[in-house]
Symmetry: C2
């Protein structure tokens, strides 16, 4: 629970063409048809996504980067180089994170505690993913045109940044609050199939949601939206069942960023979107704007991550997962 409820002063999102063509297209701040975003490689394109997302968040409230005390960021690339190359020119104190697809929740959670504690006045939380850099690293060269199993998700090309501020400095009078953060525990059910990560992550999401509700004396019905990022259509069904077994009926309020970002009619996106950039783009666009406008009063955002590497999977290890939860509420 936050004593001073840090505010999310601004947010910025950048996506690729498939994400712009999807049902949330109009909510994103910018998009680009070129998968390389004007850069020489897909990897550096992803770095450029992070840079633009941060700059967009700063520009919207005319906050100079020099007023940001810390940047928290990470991504899926080996050694998190998208984050390094996207953020180095800002030259601000930098905390590198690795939380797989839970990175948006992890980074906002840490930024919020830093502001709440007085260690920072303003902080940025940012992450990204890129379909092409993820396929190259985690799966097969795109040129193979490999077949995908039906439980696979589609890595989002995109990213999002949240600018958090101490209440007395915040220039945005409608800014939503970070009320409480629950950092999750790792969990594994013995799943070893890298194409079924929704099932690997659902138990971690359930565990963190139950921990959060118990710690804060809340019920799922206290939230207008309980949104995971990203379980996909297989994982969200499993989460609904697991929550029910724990006595929490999710009802209409339960949603998943991975299920929101694409339209299945457009193309075969498998079970929906994934990658750090998926929940980053969805949270910092439509969800942020609906918190700003008061359409949502209380949102429970649950970032979920599968903590494996291609090497650990090929060595036969299980896929542990984690989830971090944030209670966000409208500023009104």
């Amino acid at each position: 629970m936050m004593k001073n409820a840090p505010l999310i002063e601004s947010a910025g999102t950048v996506v690729g063409k498939d994400e712009y063509a999807g049902p949330l297209g109009v909510w994103f701040d910018s998009h680009e048809a070129d998968a390389k975003f004007g850069m020489p490689t897909w990897e550096m394109a992803e770095a450029e996504i992070q840079r633009r997302a941060v700059q967009t968040a700063l520009d919207k409230q005319s906050v100079p980067v020099a007023e940001v005390d810390m940047i928290f960021g990470g991504d899926l690339q080996n050694q998190c180089v998208a984050t390094t190359f996207g953020l180095k020119a800002f030259s601000r104190p930098f905390i590198g994170l690795y939380g797989a697809c839970s990175t948006m929740a992890e980074s906002i959670g840490l930024a919020a505690v830093m502001i709440d504690s007085g260690a920072a006045r303003r902080a940025i939380a940012v992450t990204s993913s890129h379909f092409c850099s993820a396929e190259r690293q985690f799966r097969f060269p795109l040129e193979y045109a490999g077949q995908r199993p039906p439980t696979a998700q589609w890595t989002v090309t995109g990213g999002g940044a949240a600018l958090l501020a101490r209440a007395d400095l915040c220039k945005n009078s409608c800014a939503p609050k970070v009320r409480a953060v629950t950092f999750g525990r790792m969990f594994d059910l013995g799943i070893t199939d890298m194409s079924n990560m929704g099932a690997a992550m659902a138990p971690a999401a359930c565990q963190t949601i139950c921990d959060h509700l118990a710690d804060t004396a809340k019920r799922l019905s206290d939230f207008d939206l309980v949104v995971t990022g990203d379980l996909g259509s297989t994982g969200i069904l499993l989460l609904r069942r697991l929550l029910s077994e724990e006595g929490h009926e999710a009802g209409e309020a339960l949603a998943d960023c991975g299920c929101m970002i694409y339209d299945e009619k457009d193309k075969d996106f498998g079970c929906g979107g994934s990658g750090c950039g998926c929940s980053a783009a969805v949270l910092n666009s439509v969800i942020y704007q609906k918190l700003l406008s008061g359409v949502y009063k209380d949102v429970l955002f649950v970032g979920t991550g599968a903590l494996m590497s291609p090497l650990s999977v090929s060595q036969g290890e299980v896929i542990p997962s984690i989830a971090h939860a944030l209670h966000l509420s409208s500023g009104g």
Copy 2:
């Protein structure tokens, strides 16, 4: 600056046979001649190093893991899987980090702020590296027996964990304090040679040391030891020159964990040790124990990291680096 100066209640270290054979051998808590530490792979051996380091730190002060509110950890492996597999069985709230070889300083810094702010009562900071998992991932298969340039460093097989506690809970009456933390900014001088990381990291170390001294109104002479981790013998010479150019004469107090851990007479370790496990093992053994006993009153520990991946280097990108500084002082 910490308001409540969190304490390092306990520390644990685990190393391999080369590190045990070195000049600091007697200071480490445990060592193993088997490079696999009883595990099926080098990658899982590194996970086992983290697990043992954490368990050792807990056992020394008889603290049950259930009393630890958060664990901060990371490593060099792709997607930080040594940390995942080493820590998952502890089932505590987990914050995954990626800071390359700066991870020990980054993790203690974050743990200290969390305790200072009241968000955690006890927290663990842990990291590791393993010569064989690092060679496989960053360089060449060991079987190639590739030649190493003279500026190359030797990845330490080892790890260390620090258990931090709120002052009123701490069971160790001699525990050293974390007085202040400076999280660093990324820096690059255009270096692209992965075998000369000391030179890539020295400017970041200089920048963070200068920032820390300016922010806290200290001089280098206020410290009994100013120790970087890990610049190696090339990098530390460069740092000494850069500090001098900024008006800070380092003198006898300047040392480097990478230069301390091996004896050059034993084997060709190049410019010295590197890897997250190097500064983790040195800090949590000899430095921690000399702070406990009061031999050192004030130590400035500066963790340095080179933020590249093999892919970013092969794509011709520079090697950005970062350094985070901790002011540690004896409890007496």
